[in-house]
């Protein structure tokens, strides 16, 4: 059982890999999000450096709309780890428990925001 738990926990955090993050993004985030269009969730192009809850044309929860922080590596990591802890009353029920996965996703979002 310990071996299975360790296997499910995944590898330890290392250097962030935006290419792996891209694959993770499609598999885990792609149901609700895309880079270029609002879908169930808001678009992610330009998310780095953007104030939370401020992408034009997307109807955010009141909680996120009222948030006063900017998306960066730290806030995105905290959001992906536990969105409700960061912004109580927000609508995203999905979280990413593995630190390496979060780091790779954030690296991908950083790269996508700079293009």
């Amino acid at each position: 059982m310990l071996a299975m738990a360790l296997a499910l926990a995944g590898p330890s955090a290392g250097a962030a890999d935006p290419d792996r993050g891209a694959a993770l993004y499609e598999a885990r985030c792609g149901a609700c999000h895309s880079l270029d269009a609002h879908r169930v969730g808001p678009l992610h192009k330009g998310v780095f450096g953007r104030r939370a809850g401020s992408a034009p044309g997307y109807q955010y929860s009141l909680a996120l709309e009222s948030a006063a922080f900017v998306w960066d590596a730290q806030t995105l990591d905290a959001w992906l780890q536990n969105p409700e802890a960061l912004v109580p009353g927000q609508r995203m029920g999905y979280s990413v428990s593995d630190a390496t996965d979060r780091a790779d996703l954030v690296a991908f979002l950083r790269r996508a925001s700079s293009r």
């Binding site: 499609e26 885990r28 985030c29 269009a37 879908r39 029920g93 999905y94």
Partner: protein
């Protein structure tokens, strides 16, 4: 036929026509809600959060219904693939009806669908030029839905809603598997590939 359909045991006509709280429920909704009278009274846990998650799920279902509609009307899908797409769309309509019924029974307001044109634009439907393109889009959406439904299970305050999400994920996994097979994609080599 791309697939052979399997009729599941059918509830009695009486149960299909049952009414609860003034809301006429579809067969799928009744099946999902069977034995969950607690939801109609007062959900435990975090009902506001649960309704929010269900509305996100409903948004996914609205989008899936529109995606299959765009595919069906594109003229690019040939029989029997077209028939299968319409069947899968009917499953998503069943999911939609069940989710709306559940949200309303919990006192929430179900999110409305956008126009098919809006969904088509957001999904880049203008770039779809072949049946394979459409099947790839459908497979991508279905896999995303599988992972989304599995991913939100721990977030539900109400355990029965977690079960609903798992059942929705099972349907989407069935869709993805058949689409992947039609596209000639390999079966995942690793165990536990969904929801990871």
């Amino acid at each position: 036929m791309l697939i052979k359909t399997l009729e599941t045991p059918t509830p009695s006509r009486r149960s299909f026509l049952s009414r609860s709280g003034g809301i006429a429920l579809s067969g799928a909704a009744l099946a999902l809600l069977a034995g969950q009278s607690r939801l109609a009274i007062a959900a435990t846990g975090n009902p506001t959060g649960d309704v929010g998650i269900l509305n996100v799920a409903l948004g996914l279902e609205h989008e899936a219904i529109a995606a299959y509609q765009v595919g069906a009307e594109s003229g690019l899908l040939q029989k029997p693939v077209l028939d299968t797409a319409v069947l899968f769309q009917s499953h998503h309509k069943g999911h939609r009806d069940a989710l709306i019924a559940t949200i309303e029974k919990m006192g929430g307001k179900a999110v409305a669908a956008k126009s098919n044109a809006d969904y088509a634009a957001a999904l880049g439907a203008g770039a779809l030029k072949s049946q394979t393109d459409i099947l790839n889009l459908a497979a991508r959406l279905e896999l995303g839905a599988v992972n989304a439904y599995l991913g939100v299970i721990p977030a539900f305050g109400e355990k029965e809603l977690a079960k609903v999400a798992a059942r929705l994920a099972a349907d989407e996994t069935m869709h993805w598997s058949l689409l992947a097979n039609a596209l000639g994609k390999p079966v995942p080599v690793a165990a536990l590939s969904f929801g990871a």
